[in-house]
């Protein structure tokens, strides 16, 4: 999976470029762990889902795994730019209760502690 990583101060912005399904999430997870270990000073993470058209339960599970990893470092993980169809998956799985969701990456970066 092609993933873009960007650092804005203490906030890392992660942008997956493809659908998050069982076939692709292992790659996302490995790249994220690798990047997080190399990036200095990243405390909070924003996952920009604007390029993701579909996400299944594996994708959600991966987001929760990323949240856990960031939380262990004392940070928080926020979701930005949720497409409508992915938002429906968040609604039925109640994932909206776990993640803070914003309409834009800038807004998510701004509210990061």
């Amino acid at each position: 999976m092609n993933v873009q990583f960007e650092q804005r101060g203490t906030v890392g912005v992660v942008t997956p470029q493809e659908d998050m399904t069982a076939d692709s999430v292992d790659s996302l997870k490995n790249q994220f762990v690798d990047w997080l270990s190399r990036a200095g000073g990243v405390k909070n993470v924003v996952v920009n889902l604007s390029m993701v058209e579909f996400m299944d339960s594996s994708g959600l599970g991966t987001l929760i795994a990323l949240l856990k990893r960031v939380s262990e470092r004392g940070g928080d993980l926020k979701i930005a730019c949720l497409p409508k169809k992915v938002r429906m998956v968040f609604e039925i799985t109640r994932a909206y209760k776990i993640f803070e969701i914003t309409d834009s990456v800038d807004e998510a970066v701004r509210i990061c502690p």
Binding site: F54, S58, K84, M88, V89, E91, I92, T93
Partner: protein, 478 residues
């Protein structure tokens, strides 16, 4: 002569296509199919003689409605050809409607404005309901002049009284949102008027038969659950939940203000609120957004039970196909190069709908350009060697041995959309005389096979085609 009802179930409704494969007359409204409310309207109006005009999903509608005895109606059937104007049916024999006609042309739901029993006699007068564009949705008339005028020119006919005078409010269902709102209304404020009682002591809760409902399930009225459902432990159902037949709701799910259509699985712990779920499809009726969730852990189709008869037919067909392929392999390998060399015929690649929803190539034997199949080509066909590529497809599981003619893709996709149970095959009712099938005959043959398929029927078809076809091929053009 009694007043007759003509109920059109055959017109394709684009909104219903979003809701999966169930024909729209059989979509659940509350805990019953939409069609049943039409029957009730006939009963309320004192009409017993009902003609159902079929089209899309004909075999399912007919299988459900039967002869109408269940409702005390006398049902008869006609068939609407693809693209045919529904009013054309009335024009076929206008004299039939002389005594009066109750005509439901589009999916209109008859809301009862108050509780009341059936009418002793059919109401007299002219009652018409039109949509905003002026098209007639439904009418009831005992006036021969009005009916004559309507049949001649449906748009020019005069106005009638509103159905409200008969204690009805017809509402046209033309979108997924209207279908969703209708369900919420029928289960909600109108539950006492429309819902069948079902198996529940709670008021405004209707539960069908053979529903597994553990004690830990919280049911909050109003709720309608169909037949043969399994609700997981610690699930919360309602308020305003409609669950169709054969649905599985996994544990700890939460359903409210939603419609779960037949044969749907809802995964563990999911929260379905304000949505329609049909198989793996999630629909937001407000926005019209449709999301295909390709994840069986979330929402999915309950795997259809393979009919044992189909499994036996599949094995029988496969074994027969293997035997025929073995017998034909050498003659085919010898004769086809000769046929091709002398330009007596050739195989043409066609794209068709195969089994399992796949589209793929199928080789069809056709004459070489500008020629007829003669001599060697006829012999090739008489030995059924032109069926060899198709038989190989049966061996690989892409076709059935006996069934319906494979439907071309994409030019016959609308035809495919009308056929719910599809058995593309090498040997078909028209495979011995494919050129002389009447218009609409392919559809009729396809639906007939789907309705009456059996192992005995397949055996007869195989023998008839393999034995008769050589005679027909050799005698053709003599």
């Amino acid at each position: 002569m009694p007043v007759k009802a003509v109920l059109h179930t055959g017109l394709i409704q684009p909104w219903a296509a979003t809701l999966g494969d169930i024909p729209w007359p059989l979509l659940p409204v509350g805990n019953r199919p939409f069609l049943e409310y039409w029957f009730e309207a006939c009963i309320d109006l004192g009409i017993k003689d009902v003609r159902l005009v079929l089209g899309e999903g004909a075999e399912f509608v007919e299988a459900y409605a039967g002869d109408g005895e269940k409702w005390g109606l006398a049902l008869t059937y006609s068939f609407l050809k693809d693209g045919q104007d529904p009013d054309a049916f009335l024009r076929r024999n206008p004299g039939q409607w002389a005594a009066g006609l109750f005509y439901l042309r589009t999916p209109v739901f008859f809301h009862r404005l108050s509780d009341g029993g059936p009418q002793a006699v059919v109401p007299s007068g002219v009652f018409v309901d039109r949509s905003l564009d002026g098209a007639v949705n439904c009418l009831l008339s005992d006036s021969p002049d009005f009916l004559k005028a309507y049949i001649e020119d449906p748009r020019a006919c005069r106005e009638g009284r509103p159905f409200a005078d008969l204690n009805f409010r017809p509402s046209l269902i033309s979108s997924v949102k209207e279908y969703y709102d209708l369900n919420m209304s029928v289960v909600g404020e109108d539950a006492s008027r429309y819902l069948n009682a079902g198996y529940s002591l709670k008021s405004d809760v209707s539960i069908g038969f053979n529903v597994i409902l553990p004690p830990s399930v919280t049911v909050t009225p109003p709720v309608a659950i169909g037949n043969n459902c399994r609700i997981g432990a610690m699930t919360s159902v309602g308020p305003l939940a409609v669950v169709g037949n054969h649905a599985i709701i996994d544990r700890q799910a939460d359903l409210s203000e939603c419609v779960i259509l037949d044969g749907t699985y809802v995964g563990r712990g999911l929260e379905i609120h304000g949505k329609i779920v049909v198989g793996s499809r999630l629909i937001d009726p407000e926005s019209g957004l449709v999301a295909e969730i390709n994840d069986p852990l979330l929402v999915a189709h309950v795997r259809p039970m393979v009919k044992s008869g189909d499994a036996i037919r599949a094995v029988f067909g496969w074994v027969c196909a293997v035997l025929i392929v073995i017998l034909q392999a050498v003659p085919f390998a010898v004769l086809y190069p000769v046929v091709k060399l002398f330009r007596k015929g050739r195989f043409r690649r066609a794209s068709v709908h195969l089994t399992g929803g796949r589209v793929g190539p199928l080789l069809e034997f056709v004459p070489c350009s500008g020629r007829k199949v003669t001599g060697l080509g006829k012999l090739f066909q008489a030995l059924n060697l032109d069926l060899f590529p198709g038989l190989c497809k049966v061996v690989t599981g892409h076709l059935w041995l006996c069934g319906a003619r494979p439907i071309s893709s994409p030019c016959e996709n609308s035809f495919r959309a009308q056929v719910k149970e599809y058995f593309p095959a090498v040997l078909t009712y028209d495979s011995d005389d494919r050129e002389h099938v009447e218009p609409g005959g392919h559809l009729a043959n396809t639906l007939y096979y789907a309705r009456f398929r059996s192992l005995l029927g397949d055996s007869r078809m195989m023998l008839a085609v393999l034995l008769n076809r050589p005679l027909i091929v050799l005698s053709a053009g003599e």
